[in-house]
């Protein structure tokens, strides 16, 4: 099963290597990983989607906690959360297909950000499912190039998964 982890880390050199190295070394499967800074410039947030059962997830969480640069981990899979991913797709669209592709864009609320002689480049944001659906719909036209950011997520409502000074590291036991 896929789990979504919101992981706050020190914005220090090598932190990405530490986290990525941990996953490969211990044989954990990363589905996606997105990282960027937060409201606090010293803290970065990683959204990691991992595949595994509860036992694997428990180990992932505990091993991540052992990294000194990891400040806080929240498994938000069971929470109500907003998640978004950004995709850029360069798709074949000569004059015979262009109209159809533009219609698809409208349906998915994607935007055309560039135009070539035989291609269109689209940008779309949405949750995982929507991006997958867009990708599948465009596949028959011939996708020349595609890049996804990986998922970022935030819990709905007032619950805070950010960092508060004095907030202890989440206890997993």
């Amino acid at each position: 099963m896929l789990h979504t982890l919101a992981v706050l880390v020190e914005n220090s050199p090598g932190v990405l290597t530490r986290v990525a190295g941990l996953f490969s070394r211990r044989g954990f499967n990363i589905d996606s990983l997105a990282v960027g800074r937060t409201e606090d410039p010293e803290v970065s947030r990683m959204t990691i989607v991992v595949d595994g059962d509860d036992r694997v997830l428990e180990q992932v969480t505990k091993q991540l906690h052992k990294l000194v640069d990891v400040i806080k981990i929240n498994d938000i899979t069971a929470d109500e959360y907003v998640d978004r991913e950004l995709v850029l797709i360069k798709v074949n669209a000569d004059h015979t297909q262009r109209v159809e592709v533009i219609q698809i864009c409208d349906v998915f609320r994607a935007r055309i950000v560039d135009m070539g002689r035989k291609t269109l480049t689209l940008e779309c944001t949405g949750n995982h499912g929507k991006i997958n659906a867009l990708e599948e719909t465009l596949r028959p036209y011939g996708i020349k190039e595609l890049v996804r950011t990986g998922k970022i997520a935030m819990v709905r409502g007032t619950k805070n998964t950010g960092y508060q000074e004095n907030g202890a590291k989440e206890e997993s036991l």
Partner: protein, 554 residues
């Protein structure tokens, strides 16, 4: 007044009360060595960086203090790798300082540049590459804190040469603030209460005590627990010497080469009390048949160890010493002996044994060593059959008496580790026991031992073969012995003499009886080359993939 970061580093070490550093100089670490020139800290110049890091490891295990290592960049750093991994696997607190090429050169494949923090990332508890000289004191403070708290381990600081030479205002931080590092010390009260209840209900408890007891120096608490609840105790290799080897409740080591009594006790127990142990594969054998009927209480300072390999009924995260101190007053004295009678029956039925007659037996030398020293020496082993014979036949009566490479099983550990231990315990009897293979991996440290007038006693159980691998080839490859027989060894007694070390060669039981006590009583360093039978096998042995109750005799 401003001082260089290198000078600040040395002052930080002084503030951390470091007395001894093991190291080897080189170009990029020169500023640190220059700063050491004016310091009261003693620097031990080893003969190889691997010797430095194993010595620091032995020193840390023997004293409970942090082992400090200094080496240069590139080859200096790569020579440390085995020793760092060893300390990481066995949870030994080290602080390692390596030189690095100047920041402007980092990433250019400069002379003697390697990515030290990258190489050591998976084998350190944490590491730092210093990019801002002003941050160095804080990093050192953190390094000592991280190395010694929670589950101990090695921390490395990689120091580029230009940073080391940068002047800073020195100020050693008083406190540590690491928002991502908050080790748990005290166990959860309710869990401890639950554990006490489960113990009270159990009929057939076994205490399985590992390296956590050794590292946290909790032998007294362990003894009190065992005697209060009248439960037998088995040790892992790292746990050995934390419980008196001649105590009626002692089962010996468990697992791959454990005693049958220990393995049967664990297999049949209804409650397994795991203390600072990690259910390693060498201990559990086939995991589904490890303590199959038992409730499991697992106390460990590292939450990631709990539930990693086996399901646990009562997990307690915390320092095992503190947890035991809180648990003990909640326990009632138990006197029921039914379970112990069963255990004693196993013990009587399956004692450890070997044939004393014939060629000199390695087991005999170990038994004799135990007898002469009364089990109170600190014994540092190398890796192989001799290590297992020490584990089986040396009846430890001194807490922390065994220093051995467990998790990594690194040959070459014995001599430098014993040397480090002797540095830390100058007035005590420290004995190395190594095989002829492993001894030759790091025997260059004989020079360091002589130079520093260490009274170390070094026993080589010389069977002229890589005994443990040969045993594996016997059991798993129908005795097709490949690359395990030596055709040449130096005369170790003469080698010792070349170093100015007194040498003995012992060939028979009688020689061991008369000369071993004499050799051990010498005031200076002594090398004792025991020519032992190559026909001995470590027994019992749990074949790969089998349950620990299915051990065979070898």
């Amino acid at each position: 007044m401003e001082i260089t970061a290198a000078q600040a580093l040395v002052q930080c070490l002084e503030k951390e009360q470091v007395e001894l550093i093991f190291g080897y100089p080189g170009g990029t670490i020169l500023p640190v060595y220059d700063a050491l020139h004016d310091s009261a800290i003693k620097h031990v110049l080893v003969r190889h960086e691997q010797g430095a890091v194993h010595a620091a490891d032995g020193y840390a295990r023997a004293t409970g203090k942090v082992g400090v290592v200094v080496a240069t960049s590139g080859p200096g750093a790569t020579n440390l790798v085995t020793g760092i991994a060893n300390a990481y696997m066995d949870s030994v607190p080290l602080v390692i300082i390596t030189g690095q090429v100047a920041t402007g050169m980092v990433g250019t494949d400069a002379f003697q540049e390697v990515d030290t923090t990258g190489i050591t990332l998976p084998i350190t508890k944490h590491n730092y590459l210093v990019k801002d000289a002003a941050q160095l004191p804080r990093m050192i403070k953190n390094a000592f804190y991280i190395a010694t708290t929670g589950r101990p381990g090695p921390v490395l600081i990689d120091l580029p040469k230009d940073i080391a030479e940068t002047k800073i205002k020195f100020n050693y931080p008083e406190t540590v603030h690491l928002r991502g590092y908050k080790p748990t010390f005290r166990g959860h009260h309710n869990q401890i209460a639950e554990a006490a209840k489960l113990i009270a209900r159990s009929q057939k408890p076994v205490i399985y005590a590992g390296g956590g007891i050794t590292r946290s120096r909790s032998s007294d608490e362990l003894l009190a627990l065992a005697e209060t609840i009248n439960a037998p105790v088995t040790n892992t290799l790292q746990g050995l010497s934390s419980f008196p080897g001649d105590h009626p409740l002692f089962l010996g080591m468990l697992g791959l080469h454990g005693t049958r009594a220990a393995n049967l006790a664990v297999t049949n127990c209804d409650l397994l009390i795991a203390l600072g142990a990690r259910f390693d594969d060498r201990v559990t054998g086939k995991i589904s048949e490890f303590a199959p009927q038992a409730g499991v209480i697992h106390v460990d300072v590292d939450p990631a160890e709990i539930g990693k390999n086996v399901a646990v009924h009562i997990p307690i995260v915390g320092d095992v010493k503190q947890v035991l101190q809180e648990l003990l007053p909640r326990l009632e004295k138990r006197t029921d002996t039914t379970w112990l009678e069963q255990i004693n029956a196993w013990r009587e039925e399956y004692p450890l044994r070997y044939e004393v007659e014939g060629k000199l037996k390695p087991q005999y030398v170990v038994e004799k060593l135990a007898e002469i020293t009364g089990g109170t020496a600190v014994v540092a082993t190398d890796v192989g059959q001799h290590q297992m014979w020490v584990a089986q036949y040396y009846r430890f009566k001194r807490a922390g008496g065994l220093i051995s490479s467990g998790g990594l099983g690194a040959m070459g550990f014995g001599l430098p580790a014993a040397m480090g231990a002797q540095f830390g315990l100058p007035g005590e009897q420290v004995v190395m026991v190594a095989g002829d293979g492993g001894f030759q991996m790091t025997m260059q440290e004989l020079g360091t031992i002589v130079e520093n007038k260490l009274p170390l006693k070094m026993i080589i159980l010389n069977n002229y073969v890589l005994g443990m691998v040969r045993q594996l080839q016997k059991v798993y490859h129908e005795g097709r012995y490949t690359a395990v027989n030596f055709k040449f060894h130096p005369d170790f007694e003469m080698l010792a003499r070349a170093y100015g070390i007194k040498g003995y060669t012992l060939r028979t039981k009688e020689e061991v009886d008369t000369l071993l006590p004499q050799a051990l009583a010498e005031p200076g360093p002594v090398l004792i080359n025991c020519l032992v039978s190559a026909g001995e096998w470590v027994s019992p042995m749990v074949p790969a993939g089998k349950a620990i109750s299915e051990a065979i005799d070898c």
